[in-house]
């Protein structure tokens, strides 16, 4: 069920109304169960295509329960090994070849996020944070919640359970906020992501057209433009999807965690990842980075080594996070780039703090030119690294070969300076109109005015949809 389809709109309308018709925890759980089944069922033609997911869930449930009862390290490791092995086989990682492929097509959408939830429950069970057995209904509703099934946000089970035990009560302001959030999400997906997807398709089409042989500067410009358009497309698409599910969740009494916090304000790579796909970053911080750092700190006890352990832990964490995005070799490159970005960022912090002291480093980082250059460098690095998500390995190699080291550096630095300047101009403009925006918001506070604003946004979505042949797909569904 595509998020931009009328079918999905009808579906969420029905689910929201039914949830408010049965607002008790039991009623909402029952509605959610049916909604999840219908939503997941919409992805398949035959029931057999659901069997691998069902088996994966069953094994996951048994593993969690086993760990919860025994709370032993070996049960945790055994459970992790089985689940990860199952995930790798079901996701058809390319290094496996054809040897372990199931002989029929089946649903893999959402599997990555089901994995995160199962692993989280297993580790929490080991740490004693799941004192009671999770009922199968709640396990299914949590791990296959249609709002978060496809691509998160990755909610903690404890937060989900707290939501589900509350009766649904909404006031007028909450309902309007939820509608506004929902429509803002469709606006991001249907307008901004559609426009930038169109621009990206055209630009990358020219970039990858073997019959065109542009000069190196034009080629660099095409690389940079494609990377920027893809990044904005991805952001609008993913953040819009989050707005949609958070808005719908609010109407159903589910308080879902935020996943984005204005990522292009980030002044460093690590700052960026605390603002982009935040629930994924948090998950990796909790279940990979922190345990890894603990292990390293136990092994390397020297005080001098301390600051550098973080560099190593960041590299490994971001490498895994990058590789998680796909099953082919190009995602290893992406993982290496993410790992390099995070570790170099950490190393820079360590070295500069040593050299300038904490105060000196902070003072340097607060200078206006440094702020905008940092933002530009961060955006440029992320945008160019994201190329791994839209190029396959031969295309990536061909492109880097054509660019050469000088071309890659020119693209990176040129884009960093250009975006740094663009951010500066944008901030200046937005601060200039800030007071006007406050007045406009106040004027649009009445029932009629605020609904006219929403209606205008809806018309904008419909208008842009009429321009394009095809609504943009939810891009993170593929990861």
């Amino acid at each position: 069920m595509a998020f931009t389809s009328l079918t999905f709109l009808a579906f969420i309308t029905a689910v929201v109304l039914l949830s408010s018709l049965w607002p008790t925890p039991a009623g909402r759980s029952a509605v959610l169960l049916v909604a999840n089944a219908v939503f997941i069922g919409s992805y398949v033609d035959r029931v057999v295509q659901l069997v691998p997911l069902a088996v994966f869930l069953l094994v996951g449930y048994l593993a969690i329960e086993g760990v919860r009862r025994s709370r032993s390290a070996w049960s945790l490791w055994a459970g992790l090994a089985v689940i990860l092995a199952g995930f790798i086989v079901l996701k058809r990682f390319s290094f496996l070849g054809e040897s372990l492929t199931l002989p029929f097509s089946y649903l893999i959408v959402g599997l990555s996020y089901v994995l995160f939830r199962v692993l989280h429950l297993m580790v929490d069970a080991k740490q004693g944070e799941l004192p009671q057995r999770i009922a199968p209904l709640h396990f299914f509703n949590y791990s296959c919640n249609f709002l978060t099934f496809t691509a998160g946000p990755i909610q903690r089970y404890q937060d989900y359970a707290a939501n589900q035990t509350r009766a649904l009560t909404l006031d007028e302001a909450q309902v309007f906020r939820a509608f506004a959030r929902l429509i803002r999400g469709f606006l991001k997906v249907g307008v901004f992501s559609a426009i930038f997807n169109y621009l990206f398709d055209n630009m990358s089409g020219r970039l990858l057209d073997a019959t065109l042989t542009p000069s190196l500067p034009v080629f660099c410009a095409l690389v940079v433009a494609s990377a920027v358009f893809y990044t904005i497309y991805l952001y609008a698409n993913f953040a819009g999807y989050m707005d949609i599910v958070i808005g719908v969740g609010a109407l159903m009494g589910q308080e879902l965690p935020e996943n984005f916090n204005r990522p292009f304000l980030a002044r460093s790579f690590l700052d960026f990842w605390s603002r982009w796909h935040m629930t994924l970053s948090d998950w990796f911080k909790t279940y990979v980075f922190n345990p890894l750092l603990t292990v390293l700190a136990r092994r390397f006890t020297s005080a001098q080594a301390g600051p550098y352990l973080g560099v190593v832990a960041f590299f490994v964490t971001f490498l895994i996070m990058g590789v998680w995005h796909g099953t082919t070799a190009v995602f290893v490159v992406y993982g290496l780039l993410m790992g390099a970005g995070a570790s170099v960022n950490k190393l820079w912090q360590v070295v500069m703090t040593k050299r300038l002291g904490k105060k000196g480093y902070k003072a340097l980082a607060e200078r206006t030119p440094v702020i905008y250059l940092s933002r530009g460098l961060t955006f440029a690095y992320f945008a160019l690294a994201l190329s791994c998500l839209w190029l396959d390995m031969p295309q990536l190699l061909s492109l880097t070969h054509r660019l050469g080291v000088a071309g890659v550096l020119a693209c990176y630095l040129g884009l960093a300076v250009a975006t740094g300047l663009a951010f500066f101009v944008w901030d200046a403009l937005t601060s200039a109109v800030a007071s006007w925006r406050v007045r406009a918001s106040a004027a649009a506070g009445g029932v009629i005015a605020r609904n006219l604003v929403l209606a205008f946004q809806v018309l904008l979505i419909v208008t842009v949809a009429s321009f394009f042949h095809k609504a943009p797909e939810f891009v993170y569904r593929a990861f």
Partner: protein
């Protein structure tokens, strides 16, 4: 639940109010499109509809009249080769409408016939003579033509117009009309703000879009008449068509079946069909294995079709030499008068036959 329903009602009311204002303003500022009495998709770029598929889809409502009509169908070579005003001047007893759409294959032609039929009464259908321009490009397989990343799988350009404003609903069984075809005029009126906005947005962004699509500037008729193709250009055109037709070297049987079924449907309702065997330059025909296969297939097919009541065949091979083409498929403007006369010679007796009891 009451709060949610109230919010939905408020939003719907705001939408209606806002759209009503937009509709009124757009109608005041930009009058409704006047396409004239005769439809000519070649005029689409200068109309509010902008593109040929949208022009054909939106304007066909006026074909529901019990008047003899020649409806020209095919790809861009039918638009370039048969100028509606030239043909009309030679066949005064018929209404001539050119509903050809660039890039069409036979499936899209069949869809246009369906679109015309659905707005016509059975009586009006009896007065149709469909002139279909055949050439090998028209038999490009759907898989090669309509399965591109920028569209839903298999959607033709006509399908895109069907769904664009919600006039049709996509189902597993194909497009289903949401707006009754008889209410097409009302539908076009209601989407007027979108037509105006689309036109304005496209006018404003034309340069950018042309740059992104790496399009060259349009050329005049005089320049087109003076074109002399180099060998490199010819090779490029041949490569393009090989790629465009999916590298096929045989005409897809399904395409022939669609043509036969289309003729059956038209003739069964009392309509007539003129099949025009469109020429292409000799260097193009000789350089394309698909064109060679098409020639074999069509040479066997046309004599059989010619014998059927209501079906005529117009051979055009002798009407143009290589020098009469401005590119690999489109005739030069200087040729179109000759072509119109050739078509008129077929249409005039066909018309008198049909009107004679």
């Amino acid at each position: 639940m009451k709060l949610i329903l109230t919010q939905i009602a408020q939003l719907l009311a705001a939408l209606l109010a806002l759209y009503g204002v937009l509709l009124a303003v757009s109608l005041l500022l930009v009058p409704r499109a006047d396409v004239g009495e005769r439809l000519d998709a070649a005029r689409a770029p200068s109309s509010l509809f902008l593109t040929e598929p949208k022009y054909v889809f939106m304007t066909r409502g006026q074909l529901n009249t019990p008047v003899d009509k020649a409806i020209l169908l095919g790809a861009s070579n039918m638009l370039a080769g048969f100028k509606q005003p030239q043909v009309q001047a030679l066949v005064p007893n018929l209404e001539v409408h050119n509903l050809s759409v660039g890039g069409s294959n036979i499936r899209q032609v069949a869809q246009i016939v369906d679109l015309v039929r659905e707005v016509q009464s059975p009586e009006a259908r009896r007065h149709n003579t469909y002139v279909i321009g055949l050439w090998y490009g028209l038999f490009t397989a759907d898989r090669a033509r309509w399965y591109t990343p920028d569209r839903h799988e298999g959607d033709t350009d006509i399908d895109i117009e069907r769904y664009r404003y919600g006039f049709y609903r996509r189902t597993d069984a194909g497009a289903v009309p949401l707006l009754p075809p008889q209410e097409l005029g009302l539908g076009v009126l209601l989407i007027h703000p979108y037509l105006v906005l689309d036109r304005t947005a496209r006018d404003l962004t034309r340069s950018l879009r042309n740059f992104m699509a790496a399009k060259s500037a349009p050329i005049t008729d005089a320049q087109r008449n003076a074109v002399v193709l180099s060998d490199a250009q010819k090779r490029k055109y041949l490569d393009f068509w090989r790629d465009y037709t999916g590298g096929a070297d045989k005409i897809d049987d399904t395409s022939i079946w669609v043509l036969n079924r289309l003729i059956d449907a038209i003739v069964a309702e009392g309509g007539h069909v003129v099949l025009v065997d469109m020429p292409i330059p000799a260097w193009h025909a000789q350089g394309s294995s698909l064109a060679a296969n098409y020639r074999t297939r069509v040479d066997a097919l046309l004599p059989a079709l010619r014998t059927r009541p209501g079906v005529s065949v117009l051979a055009m091979a002798d009407t143009a030499g290589d020098d009469d083409f401005s590119d690999e498929v489109h005739p030069k403007p200087r040729v179109t008068g000759r072509w119109a006369a050739r078509l008129a010679a077929v249409l005039n007796p066909s018309s008198s036959e049909r009107t004679t009891p």
